[in-house]
């Protein structure tokens, strides 16, 4: 596809359930980022994948959050035992980036709006 896609676009779940969010980056992009955007807040970095290197997980808020990416393809963000404070828009972005190089212009997907009841 031409851009970054994310699914589902909306997800409503009950507190305590697990959810899985998906991101399809732009083909050829080596780096993939996940961000969280709470209502009225700026985007908050969660995790970063660069090629086949170990991901930078420094932004994950708790061990209930995890993410995977195989090579330079699809990524999934999993939130276990969801809490109401997890309600937010989860955004994925990709970029062609050389390891150690500047972040540069990131291309964002439309996001997944997660609501935890």
């Amino acid at each position: 596809g031409a851009g970054v896609s994310q699914s589902p676009s909306n997800k409503v779940t009950e507190k305590g359930k697990d959810v899985e969010l998906r991101c399809d980056p732009i083909s050829g992009h080596t780096a993939l980022y996940w961000y969280r955007q709470r209502l009225g807040q700026g985007l908050e970095f969660l995790i970063y994948f660069q090629g086949n290197s170990a991901p930078d997980k420094s932004g994950l808020p708790s061990d209930r959050f995890s993410a995977e990416r195989t090579g330079e393809s699809v990524s999934t963000l999993t939130i276990q035992r969801t809490q109401q404070e997890d309600s937010a828009v989860y955004l994925c972005a990709s970029i062609f980036r050389i390891a150690g190089g500047p972040t540069g212009e990131q291309f964002f997907g439309p996001g997944t709006r997660l609501t935890v009841l």
Partner: protein, 107 residues
């Protein structure tokens, strides 16, 4: 700690009324200052990257400028279609975003 602060939080303009949005930052070793536009229900869309103090970039009615401590997004003669949230970010391992300025332009 790296920080990005945007002001004002919200700005209402009449069509044709020029103004500026501010982004102040404290970053060790700036590797780029980014401006994005975000429309409701969509992901941010890239506008500009600035790398050094004194640099300016323009796109249609928008002009971004950079000093050592802040960046401005100048909007000249805005139109209703310029209504959006404008986000500023600096570059670390990932982008560090401010909370944004929500611009509303009425005709």
């Amino acid at each position: 700690e790296d920080q990005v602060t945007q002001s004002p939080e919200a700005l209402r303009l009449q069509e044709g009324e020029s103004s500026s949005l501010n982004c102040s930052y404290t970053v060790s070793g700036l590797r780029g200052l980014f401006w994005y536009r975000q429309d409701p229900g969509k992901g941010p869309e890239f506008l500009f990257t600035l790398y050094s103090a004194g640099e300016e970039k323009e796109k249609e009615r928008l002009k971004a400028t950079l000093t050592k401590k802040e960046s401005f997004l100048h909007i000249t003669a805005p139109k209703p279609e310029d209504s959006a949230t404008y986000l500023c970010a600096t570059s670390g391992t990932a982008l560090i975003f401010g909370k944004g300025t929500t611009l509303s332009v009425s005709s």
